[in-house]
Every structure is written in structure tokens, then in C-alpha cells.
């Protein structure tokens, strides 16, 4: 398979009053075309920051280092004009929280047509036809009617589907979906998963799906990257991670899922400003030993398509 996106030593930090907040530390990852990678982890572990770093959507207080190679070009080195030609056209981004991701004072049609004209380079007339097609392919029953509505007239699931339609405008080969199921009820979540699956099957794109919903990640992703305190701690195919979790954090996460008895992991994630010297999970880990607290583990392969950052498997 062809490599589409390659992250080499990507780190992102924020300047804050209390010091440098290291939100993402030294992430290495490759995504091949057609591959769906899930970024999972608890709130504040840096998954959204990593997603936004790729498209350089972070505020100016963020400092990103490392290489983000997409289709042979380094996104981190591009000037504003070049990165704009990648955004939307080559890499689509679906925002978290659909109720805030649409401009409240513009009609759905206006916003959708705008995306089509910006990303697809279509004329107003062509864009209209295409917009109706797009909305219909995302199972809107009356696309013309939807286009005349304002975002407040749509339900959460419909907004999510409208957003998905907007992301599809440029038929991009790569998609970043930031917490597409966050704060949605079960019914809408179903619709969202459906619309994402449609997106992927229609465009045949590769994707990074950022979520903290393990069940959702399990259904849609073929590879999972588990993040903890800014680092990837376990990486591998979804099946392997779920059937044989290696990192204690993943086991703990699995135990905390409602169907597994909701055993909540105690303690808090370590501070992102002064990191512990050793393993970042050591304080919450039941199996932590002296070495874990002293030395920082590396991400090492334990099996085919399966890497773990833990001293246990050394």
C-alpha cells in the first residue's frame, strides 16, 4: 500500500503562563491510502491537538516541530498559500461539535455551495447540482429543502451529516474527523457512524478518526493509536488491540467501558508541563516497577502490526 501521510517526530507545545505545555510529544506514524486510523485516549491526551497540528489549525501560541509528510510534501514547511491548497482539497477536516461547527447566520445551502466553490472550483450552477447529489448520498430525503434551512432548524445528526457533506466537497484523499460522536445520543451516533462510513466508501479516502469512544473506534477503524499524555503508547490493528491489549492503560480503558463493568481508572493524567522522568503512566499503573519510574520506555514492536510503549514487554 502507498504511504499517504507520514508523521516524523511530531511534537506540539503551547506557550502558557505556567510554562511550556507539551501536548503532543514525538509522534511517529504512517497512514497508507485507504487505511482508517483511530486516535483514542482520554480527554487532554493530545489527540485533537495532533489532528489539528497536521492541518496547522492551532492558534499562534502553539509550536509544532517535526515533519508532516503528505503526498511527498512537508506540510509543516508550507507557506500559507500552499497549506490552503491542501486544506479541504486534499485533506478534509470534520470539526468536533456539529452544533458549533456551522455558521449560525448562513443557510446550509450557502455554506455548502461555498465549500464546493472553494474546494471543488465549481461554478455556482454546477455547485448547486453537486450539492443536491451530495446531500442525497448522505440520505437527506429533501436536499433542496435542507439547503434553504438555517443550522438551528436541523437536528444534531442532520448537522453532522451536513458537515460531512461539506467535508466531501473537494473529494479529498484524506480525512481528519475530530470527535465526530462527542456529546451525541445513541441514535444520532448511529447516524454519524453511518455518514462517516458513507464518506469513506464513496471517496475511498484514508482517515484519522479522533475519538474517545472505544466502541465506535472498534467498528470503524482498522488501525488504532492509543495516546496517553501526548505520546502514542500502543499502536496496531484494531482487532489485535481489542483481543490482546498489551499496555496496562489500554486494559484499564477496556475495563472502564460500560459493557465491561465500568471499572474507573483511578488518579489523573500527569501534568503536561513537568513530565515525570520515567513512564508517564507509572503513577496510575498497577504493575509499575522501579525501572518504570526511572527510565522512559520507547515504542517497541511486540508482534506483527503491534507496538507498545511499556517496560513489561522489553
Amino acid at each position: 500500500m502507498q504511504e499517504l501521510l507520514q508523521l516524523n517526530h511530531v511534537s506540539t507545545a503551547f506557550n502558557s503562563r505556567n510554562g511550556l505545555v507539551k501536548a503532543v510529544c514525538d509522534v511517529n506514524m504512517t497512514v497508507s491510502s485507504g487505511q482508517i486510523v483511530g486516535l483514542v485516549g482520554e480527554t487532554g491526551c493530545g489527540k485533537s491537538v495532533l489532528g489539528q497540528s497536521i492541518l496547522r489549525l492551532l492558534p499562534s501560541s502553539a509550536v509544532t516541530s517535526g515533519e508532516i509528510i503528505f503526498e511527498g510534501r512537508d506540510l509543516a514547511q508550507m507557506d500559507d498559500k500552499q497549506i490552503r491548497s491542501v486544506r479541504g482539497r486534499r485533506i478534509a477536516y470534520i470539526n468536533q461539535n456539529p452544533s458549533e461547527a456551522l455558521n449560525p447566520v448562513l443557510k446550509i445551502g450557502t455554506q455548502l455551495l461555498e465549500s464546493l466553490r472553494v474546494c471543488g472550483g465549481l461554478s455556482q450552477k454546477e455547485a448547486k447540482v453537486r450539492a443536491v447529489d451530495l446531500l442525497r448520498s448522505l440520505s437527506f430525503e429533501d436536499p433542496e429543502d435542507i439547503m434553504k434551512k438555517y443550522p438551528l432548524e436541523l437536528s444534531g445528526g442532520m448537522k453532522q451529516r451536513a458537515l460531512t457533506a461539506m467535508a466531501m466537497c473537494g473529494t479529498p484523499p484524506f480525512l481528519i474527523a475530530d470527535e465526530p460522536t462527542k456529546g451525541l445520543d445513541a441514535l444520532i451516533r448511529g447516524q454519524v457512524i453511518e455518514s462517516l462510513e458513507k464518506f469513506i466508501s464513496i471517496t475511498g479516502c484514508a482517515a484519522i478518526i479522533i475519538t474517545h469512544d472505544l466502541k465506535f473506534a472498534n467498528t470503524i477503524c482498522d488501525t488504532l493509536a492509543l495516546m496517553y499524555a501526548g505520546e502514542i503508547v500502543e499502536f496496531g490493528s484494531t482487532g489485535k488491540l481489542f483481543s490482546a491489549p498489551k499496555h496496562p492503560y489500554l486494559s484499564a480503558l477496556k475495563a472502564s467501558m460500560p459493557q465491561n463493568g465500568m471499572h474507573v481508572l483511578k488518579g489523573n493524567s500527569c501534568s503536561l508541563i513537568d513530565m515525570p522522568e520515567g513512564c508517564r503512566f507509572a503513577d496510575r499503573c498497577g504493575k509499575a516497577c522501579e525501572k518504570c519510574r526511572r527510565e522512559h520506555p520507547e515504542l517497541r514492536p511486540v508482534a506483527e502490526d503491534h507496538m507498545v510503549r511499556c517496560w513489561q514487554y522489553d
Binding site: A92, N95, N97, A101, L102, N103, V105, L106, E114, G170
Partner: protein
């Protein structure tokens, strides 16, 4: 809704006043200084002109100037506020400094000074008032843009590769309208008073043009014998100014989506 309709009727009368009332704006010395009667509701002035007619024509000029001035201020304020709010940094610091400097001057005194420099006349009055007027729009716009630019849909817009220009004019400015309409209405009410005040002091419009502040000043000379000459124009001016304020307030409540009780009124 009632408040808006009343203001609308009042505005229509003002707009049509040149047609409706020009019959009364003629010098007829034999009927000078008549007290209010059915024929001349507000009475007549020292040159025999009907005061009702002249008040409306005078107010029309004041309102027209206020409107032009506020449109200029709005355009300037929104443009500056959006740019400053969106880009921040040094620009923002300069803006805040400038704002503090301008706000620390007593408004009327500075306006008078500027008018002394520019000379009297309609044009210089509008310029002098604009020097203050844009600031209130710019401040409001800036603070809205500061919150808007962090909004998710702006990030989404950046993510589809939109140009800065498109983001500013297609997405940020439409979101400002809700905030700016009530202020615009309120500010027209305020600036009508300011303009009338300047004319009252003898700046701005010069006789024989009818202007409400000027008429009140004319009436002052007859305050003992013929008080209607300043009372009625003054009352009319007050009515319009109050009405603009009331409607501005109602609009503000209406456009504030956080309070569902207010949204049903107007």
C-alpha cells in the same frame, strides 16, 4: 412590534416632510408670532412661518445628517474592529491605546475644537462627530470578533482552505449584524441630539436653513412673550430621540437570544 410601527410612521412623515410641509416654510410677516391654534398647531415664528411644518423640515435635516454620520461610523468601525480583532497583536495594542486616548477627552469639547479648526458647516460637523462615533462600533466589533474567531465554524472554514477575505466578509461580518443593528438605532437617536446641540450653539447648519437646534435657539429670544417657539420644536426633537432609544433597546432585547422572554416582545 408596536414600537417599531410607531417609529416607522414617524420616519415616513419625516421623509415626506419636504412634500407635506413646504407650504408652511414661507415668510408671511402679517401672521408672525401667532400662538398655537387649529390652523397652526405649533404656532408661527417671528417671520410668520408655520412652526409645525418648519420643525419637521428641520428635523429631517438633522436626521439625515445623523444617518449619514452613523453609516460612515458603522463602516469605519466595523472595518477597523474586524481587522484589529482578527489579527490582534501590535494592531490590537495600538487600537486599545487609541481608544483610551480618545475616550479620555471630554467629547463635546473636542468636537467643538475640531469644528473650530475645520470651520462651521454641515460637512465639518459630520467629520467632527465621526471622529468619536466610529469608536463605539469598533469596540463592539472587536470584542465580538475576538470570540467569533475562536468559534468552531471559523476553524472549519480555515480547514476547507478559504481565503482570509472570504472568512472575514462571508462569515464574520454577517455574525456581527445582530449586535450592530440595535446599537446603530440607539446611536442615531444620540447623534440627532448631538447635531441639534451643535447647531443650537451656532456651529453646523446656518440660517436660513431649517434645523431643529437652530430653531430652538431662535425661539430663545422670544422665551418670555412667545414660549411655543422653542417648546414645540424641542418636544418634537425629544419625541424622536426617545423613540429611537426605545426601539434600539427593544431591538437589543429581541436580538439577544439568551433571554426567551424578551424575544417575543417588540
Amino acid at each position: 412590534m408596536i414600537k417599531c410601527s410607531i417609529l416607522a410612521v414617524m420616519l415616513i412623515v419625516i421623509i415626506l416632510s419636504k412634500k407635506l410641509f413646504s407650504w408652511g416654510d414661507v415668510v408671511k410677516l402679517p401672521i408672525a408670532n401667532l400662538p398655537p391654534s387649529w390652523k397652526h398647531l405649533f404656532g408661527t415664528d417671528n417671520l410668520g412661518r408655520d412652526l409645525l411644518c418648519r420643525s419637521f423640515i428641520g428635523l429631517r435635516l438633522s436626521l439625515l445628517m445623523a444617518f449619514i454620520m452613523q453609516v460612515i461610523c458603522l463602516a469605519l468601525g466595523v472595518a477597523i474592529g474586524t481587522i484589529v480583532g482578527y489579527f490582534g497583536g501590535v494592531l490590537d495594542k495600538i487600537f486599545v491605546f487609541l481608544q483610551n486616548v480618545i475616550l479620555s477627552f471630554p467629547g463635546t469639547v473636542l468636537t467643538l475644537c475640531i469644528m473650530l479648526l475645520l470651520g462651521t458647516g454641515i460637512f465639518s460637523m459630520i467629520v467632527a462627530l465621526c471622529i468619536f462615533g466610529w469608536l463605539s462600533y469598533a469596540r463592539l466589533t472587536r470584542s465580538r470578533v475576538l470570540t467569533l474567531k475562536e468559534a468552531n465554524f471559523i476553524k472549519g472554514e480555515i480547514a476547507i482552505g478559504s481565503s482570509l477575505f472570504r472568512i472575514q466578509f462571508l462569515h464574520i461580518v454577517p455574525n456581527l449584524i445582530r449586535t450592530l443593528i440595535p446599537i446603530f438605532t440607539l446611536m442615531i437617536g444620540h447623534s440627532v441630539l448631538a447635531i441639534a446641540g451643535l447647531c443650537f450653539l451656532g456651529f453646523g447648519v446656518q440660517p436660513p436653513h431649517a434645523e431643529i437646534g437652530l430653531m430652538i435657539q431662535d425661539g430663545l429670544a422670544y422665551i418670555r412673550s412667545d414660549p411655543w417657539m422653542f417648546i414645540f420644536p424641542g418636544l418634537l426633537l425629544a419625541c424622536y430621540s426617545v423613540m429611537f432609544n426605545v426601539v434600539g433597546d427593544a431591538l437589543q432585547d429581541k436580538f439577544d437570544p439568551h433571554d426567551p422572554v424578551n424575544a417575543s416582545k417588540l
